[in-house]
Amino acid sequence: MGQEPTPFISRFAVESAFALFLAAFGAVIIKGALEFNIGWGDIGPEAGYFPFRVGTLIVLASLINFCHAIVQRKKLAAEVFLTREQTRNVVAFAIPVIVLVGVTIAVGIYVAAALFLLFTVGYIARHRLWVTIAVAVGTPLILFVLFEYVFLTPLLKGPLENWLGWY
């Protein structure tokens, strides 16, 4: 791991893109607020009044942040947001987590957790087989006992649990 970190994404790129993203988000809020009366009714401000102003504030403040980033372009462009290695680490973390949520909704939390831990602990981090199995099988079992019997807060189940008779 002794190699020099390679700059990949500059602070300027992310700072300006995020400001624009937030401005767009503010615009979505404004659009939602416009479905209602944004002014005054018989009983004071109507339902759209507050969200409309909050949305406008997000748009304006984000545009100021965007302009601020443009003004400081040189300084921010020299600042590294993520190196190539860091980007790889973040992506390697994020993609399994996104897949985990999709798989959870399909097959339930217990099975998804086992698969996720098998993949991250065994395949990505390359821990020993017995460590991987202990973590990937032990965690869902402990969760199962805790949530189904101790806390009485059932978690999402899928086809496997149904087949075994738990719903």
Binding site: F18, A33, L100, F116, V121, A125, L152
Partner: protein, 498 residues
Amino acid sequence: MFENFPLLAQGFALAVSPYNILLMIVGVFLGILVGVLPGLGAPNGVTLLMPLTFGMNPVSAIILLTSMYWGALYGGSTTSILFNIPGEPSSVATTFDGHPMAKAGRATEALTTAFLSSGFGALTGVATVTLLSSWATRFALRFSPVEYFTVFMLAFGSFVAFGGGAPIKTVVSIALGFAWASIGMDTVSGSMRLTYGFPELSRGISLLVVVIGLYGIAELCQTMQESAATVEPVASRLSPREVIRAALVWPRYWIALLRSACIGIWMGITPGGPTASTFMSYGIGRRFSKAGARFGTGEPEGLVSSEVSDQAAGCAAMLPMLALGLPSSATAAVLLGGLMIWGLTPGPALFAERPDFVWGLIASMYVSNVVCVIMALTTVPLFAAILRAPFTITGPLIVIVCLVGTWTVGSAPLDLWLMLAFGAMGYFMSRLRYPVAPLVLAMVLGDRAEDAFRQSMILSKGSLLVFWSNPLAGTIATLALLCFVFPLYSAVRRGLGR
């Protein structure tokens, strides 16, 4: 001022039952655990535990959750001192002197000093809450929606002025929190707002899901960014003799103790929060103390300065939370959300209607902080060992904890996707230095701030001058306005000047 003592005695009778003591020990243990582990902190630790308390009686539930909060503050100090990793944002200042002390072989002294200082800070904070609560509720009883709205604005204004973040980014955070809070049913007209045709959004976005994403997933992402973050282990065995020796030296820092306690209490009652108070206390200590020049090189007084004010602020923050329903830290905001879920309305009426709850909580704070000092000292070797477990195992386990925690909030698949979205959002926000705490506060207060504003406008028939209609509201409103205007004005001027 002293009419509260009989009430406090009743609180002790209620809080100090074997069951509640057990809850304190469990809470403190879990708190130290989330404080120690990167990727979990007090706000989302409390959040993850909250759904499990919905069935408990409110007094036991709040004892469990607040004990967890105190424990997290102590756990954050352990990692700061031993590993130079602030487990909590409020323990950043602890690393300045704590870690150099540990590296110089004075880990035991540093930990003992830190925990005793935390305990001292906590006790002064709770004592303040005990003495001032009657006065604060009487003060709060005079509040109409007009005053409430001005106080809310002052809370947000102080984040803009003193929060340490770029003022415009702080404003964006606050506005985002308000926007998310307004999703779902409008409390005044009953209409469904900002649901964009998703029926799942009609019950609103849960604060708990937002916190798990913004703090949990985002922080994990940041930790994962550095491949195999290696921690330098420092000797973590504690010899009892050294603990006693450090404890005997500790009272010598009495000036720093008192000074930092005052700063912490002040920052806790006004919505400054623990993090800002530690930096302020450390900064003031460096400037005014005789030992100030040695701050940053392993000077115990620097450690005392940050630890005392951290806990004093954390405990004193309970006063505005209970009396006004105004949380001054992200964790207090989450606890406030919990109060509402348990069916309790924070504010002056809470003291009159549920004295058992309020005084049980206050009494438990005395006891649980003593539990904290003892447990923090005795569990150091255990947690140091946990920290040495490879993060490639604890990281994925924390992901599963976040996933399970999100599901228990509302058993809704949409919440899981929202957790990811807020996680991504939180990652970019903290990397780009958008402060997250004001966003959480805005989400908790969003509906109440909007209601207070609309009720004020109904009272005044639409005139904003109502906020200056009496001296109390006028003073607070003017202060709030100044908090917003000055930093923004100078920021815009500086930005354009370049």
